[in-house]
């Protein structure tokens, strides 16, 4: 089977994810409007950008319910930065919920404004020494039992996996290291198939 990954291309750094998939020789397509959902794809990438813009466009372009359903049904999804916010079940000090499929509470702009943006290296699950670029980034303030914590920075949770959802506060697509994208592709090839017992 040759997998095909859809990249949500409403706003933000979707091109960088597409370039990463190109480097890995993976077939991809863009989701910009409802008719783009008619094509076949096996996994979804939610890129960085502004979550308020992406969330609003998801709803108004008629993508929201169909994508939420597919994520709930177990389609593998990789979410970076704004994508993590879109998946989160709760946001701190903000009643907004977008997909709400990932049982974590996320704090937006957790490191402050652009002057608080930073680069570091750290572990992502079993993958050691990953480059991690944080741009006006959120972090995961708390997660419910069963959520696997993959990365921390300064004590705060910065990457998690739950069932077939892989979400991180930083931007692996901005660096040349492809290991996190590879990790996601492994998940697409071998998803947690039975959601009730995974």
């Amino acid at each position: 089977m040759r997998e095909r990954i859809a990249v949500l291309a409403l706003q933000g750094a979707f091109l960088e994810h597409e370039q990463a998939l190109e480097r890995l020789n993976i077939d991809w397509c863009e989701i910009r409007q409802a008719k783009d959902l008619e094509q076949a794809f096996d996994g979804l990438i939610l890129p960085g950008g502004e979550s308020t813009v992406q969330g609003k466009l998801l709803r108004e372009l008629g993508l929201f319910h169909a994508l939420k359903k597919r994520i709930e049904d177990g389609m593998p999804v990789m979410a970076t930065c704004a994508g993590l916010i879109l998946l989160a079940e709760h946001l701190v000090d903000d009643p907004t919920v977008w997909f709400g499929t990932l049982p974590v509470t996320v704090r937006r702009n957790a490191y402050g404004r652009q002057l608080g943006s930073f680069f570091t290296r750290g572990a992502f699950g079993d993958i050691a020494d990953c480059p991690m670029t944080f741009i006006r980034a959120p972090f995961v303030e708390s997660c419910r039992p069963g959520v696997e914590v993959l990365s921390r920075f300064d004590g705060q949770i910065t990457a998690v996996r739950w069932q077939n959802q892989l979400a991180m506060a930083f931007h692996p697509e901005l660096d040349q290291d492809m290991r996190i994208h590879r990790n996601f592709l492994e998940m697409v090839r071998h998803p947690a198939s039975c959601l009730c017992c995974s």
Partner: protein
């Protein structure tokens, strides 16, 4: 500014791509813009059309007004300083603005030198009419470029001219032999390493937005089809009949800039567009400021 900070600043611009940055003058307008789907707002006391109408010297906005806008929204907030006015830039950095626009819309403070933007941690966006101007600004430390379309006119002609010229010059560099690039750098009045970057990558080393004269969803989509990576809308929104509706329509047109059917729908019933002034009718060409 160290190399990593410069990289992080270019990265923030990457997150803004495919989005619309809107001029706002009050916290209320900022909320309308965020609600309509702006990916960032530009906080300023007067929008360009009013600056043009008022005449006189136009300066950085009151920091208190900018802070009010920072508190009103969660998206990035940008603000303008005058060309060459590095103290206005220091002030904006001190209030932790997310992006500074060293802008020809305000009266220039220095008719020779631009700000040495490498001395700042906060990122800068600068206007450019052609490739030489763009690469000079990038060499000075700008981490985002925009066209210098005539602000406050609602006339897209100059932004189109700048975007076409810049892309034509990029294509020309790409097509050259390597040993011809040194002479090209000399003619463009820019450092060789930037010319080599453009030759190898076929693009600027930073994100390039359209700015100046965007008034309709079709204007925004035109700039995207010409190669802009996102759009600034200044007077076009809050000088129009129905700002919220027009703002939303422009945001959607930028995302689906190739879908004429959708742009047709988005262009319906938007109310009155900003009145607009033709290039030939204006006394002051702001794009001539700072080269």
């Amino acid at each position: 500014m160290n190399e990593k900070q410069a990289e992080l600043n270019r990265n923030l611009a990457q997150m803004l791509k495919g989005g619309v940055i809107m001029d706002v003058t009050t916290p209320e307008q900022a909320r309308i813009a965020e609600e309509a789907g702006a990916c960032a707002v530009m906080a300023l006391e007067r929008i360009p059309a009013d600056i043009r109408a008022a005449g006189g010297v136009s300066r950085m906005s009151d920091p208190k007004m900018i802070k009010g806008i920072q508190q009103a929204v969660s998206i990035p907030v940008m603000a303008k300083c005058r060309i060459g006015h590095f103290v206005e830039a220091q002030v904006l950095e001190a209030i932790e603005i997310d992006y500074i626009d060293e802008s020809e819309v305000l009266s220039p403070a220095d008719d020779v030198y631009h700000i040495d933007k490498t001395q700042f941690r906060v990122p800068f966006v600068c206007g450019a009419r052609d490739l030489g101007e763009a690469l000079r600004r990038i060499h000075e430390g700008a981490s985002m470029i925009r066209t210098k379309g005539e602000p406050g006119t609602g006339d897209i002609v100059q932004a189109v001219r700048h975007m076409r010229k810049m892309n034509a010059e990029i294509r020309r560099l790409v097509s050259m032999r390597e040993d011809e690039l040194y002479e090209a750098a000399k003619q463009l009045q820019v450092p060789c390493d930037l010319v080599f970057y453009v030759h190898q990558n076929g693009k600027l080393p930073v994100v390039n937005f359209a700015a100046g004269g965007v008034a309709t969803p079709a204007d925004a989509a035109l700039m995207m089809q010409l190669g802009a990576e996102g759009v600034f809308v200044g007077s076009g929104i809050f000088k129009s009949g129905n700002p919220a509706k027009r703002a939303q329509a422009i945001v959607k047109a930028v995302t689906n800039f190739k879908d004429a059917g959708m742009i047709a729908e988005l262009s319906e019933d938007l109310g009155e567009a900003m009145v607009g002034i033709n290039e030939q009718e204006i006394q002051l060409l702001m794009a001539e400021r700072g080269q």
